[in-house]
């Protein structure tokens, strides 16, 4: 983890008030593992004080070409990419960033998708199912690349409120066998929650063994965790929570997990953000 001032290379607007922010920070970019996150702060502001936790979407070379894994081609990652949606004060200010602006960035943070553990599970599975809700997609590109490089077949289930929330699809297309989309307003794919086609898929393939990686709203994660339990598939969830520090000291991001007394809570920033879904108490 490094605490750096990073320069904005690009702040590209995408559909539905989404932005892809590219930050020049070689030391941090080189240290990133799939599933980790960054804490981003707008320096010099005393009204918006806390850093914001953001999944690291991708790491790229300085000219933004090539994605995670580009070191194979003799290039080293130098740019951190963060995919965000404007939802509040902090992200509204981030949307105004232009190349050359500097941000305080603490990264990479958290455990990510525990490399050995999840890759072993993934190899045992006949397919890895990536389940994303809205901006939760941001946590899944790097693991998807990891899995694709290991030639592990994967399928993406991606849901949003409308088609404008389905960002980043072109990045996933070369990595996965198939993509199933769902929107609440029916503007693209299934009408309804993404967990409906997921349930159907699992129901029809009871005999197969999957590994599920999920990131999205709490309700989606809870239903996904329930499906994983019902059909007996291992499931990793990348949790989101408000964070004060991401250093493990404010204890603001603690969530209820299996365990008694002091062990009843774990910090999303330090013990997470990725957890086995059966470790979390979904209805505390």
């Amino acid at each position: 983890m490094y605490d750096e001032m990073a320069q904005v290379v690009e702040n590209r607007p995408l559909a539905g008030r989404h932005f892809l922010l590219s930050l020049y920070s070689p030391k941090q970019a080189r240290a990133v593992r799939p599933g980790q996150f960054a804490m981003i702060r707008l320096p010099g502001r005393s009204d918006v004080i806390l850093r914001r936790p953001m999944s690291i979407y991708d790491v790229r070379s300085r000219d933004l070409k090539g994605g995670y894994g580009l070191e194979r081609h003799g290039q080293r990652p130098a740019v951190l990419q963060v995919l965000y949606k404007v939802v509040g004060r902090g992200t509204r200010l981030m949307a105004e960033l232009t190349p050359g602006d500097r941000l305080a960035v603490l990264a990479p943070l958290g455990h990510g998708f525990f490399p050995e553990e999840y890759l072993a599970q993934a190899r045992d599975a006949s397919e890895v199912l990536l389940v994303a809700g809205g901006i939760g997609i941001a946590a899944l590109l790097m693991p998807a690349r990891d899995l694709a490089r290991q030639k592990i077949p994967q399928r993406l289930f991606f849901g949003g409120r409308s088609r404008h929330d389905l960002v980043g699809l072109s990045d996933f297309k070369p990595l996965v066998e198939a993509i199933t989309l769902a929107t609440e307003d029916g503007s693209r794919g299934y009408r309804g929650y993404v967990t409906a086609p997921l349930a159907q898929y699992l129901e029809q393939r009871c005999e197969r063994r999957f590994l599920i990686l999920a990131c999205g709203p709490m309700a989606m994660l809870q239903v996904t965790a329930g499906l994983a339990e019902r059909y007996n598939h291992p499931c990793l969830v990348s949790m989101e929570n408000r964070m004060g520090c991401a250093l493990g000291v404010c204890l603001g991001c603690s969530i209820r997990v299996q365990g008694e007394g002091h062990a009843a809570y774990e910090r999303v920033c330090t013990e997470g953000p990725v957890f086995w879904s059966n470790h979390i108490v979904w209805d505390p």
Binding site: M1, D3, R41, S46, D47, V48, I49, L50, R51, G90, A104, N241, R242, M243, G244, C245, L247, G248, V249, C250, L251, G252, C253, S254, I255, R256, G261, H262, A263, A264, Y265, P284
Partner: protein
């Protein structure tokens, strides 16, 4: 007081022309601090979490997260919410407990040049005493900070801090049990801070620290639910600084024991206001979350200020002048 005055005169006498090196060390409750900058309880973990980000040896003191006799799980999520120039928290004093603290956290803190102050919390007077009795075995603890002001636990905490009789009771019992000097951390959620400052002093407190957080609230208007599971929560950050500064000033006027100022400090300028108001030292809190080097910048800034004004810290503390700029001397 007389001693402090004598020291002040001696320092003034030393200042001739030429090279001037300001002294910014300070002595509180018989403990020597290399500078007056401490990290506030609950904002700095057990120190080690910041070891790779800043040089901990430069700090005046580290005040660790509130410790209770038994481990506490804390409150359900959500526990924090950012507000304008501040944040609300209702963590509920999640902590590892006194025994684990001694075994796992203290050995590291002992190796540092920064002083180690342990924040102590309980649900009853017996709890506070029991926690102190366990911690008394800890080698390397320099002082206790008695937390009688946490707004986020149903009993204990603020209950003690908002009734002067209970304040006296818990401070007296804790002082009797304590092997190390006792700093009492006061709540700002009272009508007259002087009453509580004097109650703590009368019961044997060696020093005071204030303020803890202000009780606040925030509501999500779309769901019409509270932003924090505990409903109410403690407000901290730059937003509280002017109010906290006033309370610290009033406390220094009410007692003879040293006062440590806390509340919204993000820069040396903020810290200097507290020192001029009469605080012997200060604590950096919420700023640690988003700018871990704040304390070090504050230390450097205090030293620069003292150098620029050719003052030692002891001369600066409580040096508030009467009248405003333009109305009297500058």
């Amino acid at each position: 007081m007389a001693k402090a005055k004598a020291r002040k005169l001696k320092l003034e006498a030393q200042d001739g022309e030429g090279e001037f090196t300001p002294r910014i060390d300070v002595e509180i409750a018989g403990i020597h601090f290399q500078n007056p900058v401490m990290t506030a309880s609950g904002t700095f973990g057990y120190g080690q979490e910041f070891a790779h980000l800043i040089d901990l040896n430069r700090l005046g003191a580290i005040i660790v997260k509130g410790i209770s006799a038994d481990p506490l799980p804390g409150n359900p999520a959500p526990r924090i919410y950012e507000t304008e120039a501040g944040m609300l928290n209702a963590i509920g004093l999640q902590n590892v407990g006194a025994c684990t603290f001694l075994e796992e956290k203290l050995p590291f803190l002992r190796t540092l040049k920064a002083r180690c102050i342990v924040n102590v919390f309980g649900y009853s007077t017996e709890d506070y005493v029991r926690c102190i009795e366990i911690l008394n075995a800890g080698e390397g603890i320099d002082a206790y900070e008695l937390n009688i002001s946490c707004p986020n636990t149903r009993c204990g905490g603020i209950v003690y801090g908002s009734d002067p009789k209970l304040t006296e009771e818990v401070v007296a019992a804790s002082k009797r049990a304590a092997r190390f000097p006792l700093i009492v951390k006061l709540s700002p959620n009272v009508t007259d801070i002087g009453v509580f400052a004097r109650a703590a002093e009368a019961a044997g407190a060696d020093a005071l620290s204030l303020v803890n957080t202000f009780v606040g609230m925030a509501i999500d208007i779309e769901t019409r639910r509270p932003r924090i599971s505990n409903l109410t929560a403690g407000l901290s950050g730059p937003a509280i600084k002017p109010v906290a500064l006033r309370l610290v000033y009033q406390a220094t006027q009410a007692v003879r024991i040293p006062v440590i100022g806390i509340g919204g400090i993000t820069s040396a300028e903020d810290a200097l206001e507290y020192l001029i108001a009469g605080a012997q030292a200060i604590q950096v809190g919420t700023a640690n979350f988003y700018s871990p080097d704040t304390s070090l910048r504050v230390i450097d800034g205090i030293r620069d200020y003292c150098l620029r004004h050719r003052l030692h810290l002891a001369q600066l503390i409580g040096s508030l002048k009467h009248g405003v700029n333009g109305a009297g001397e500058h």
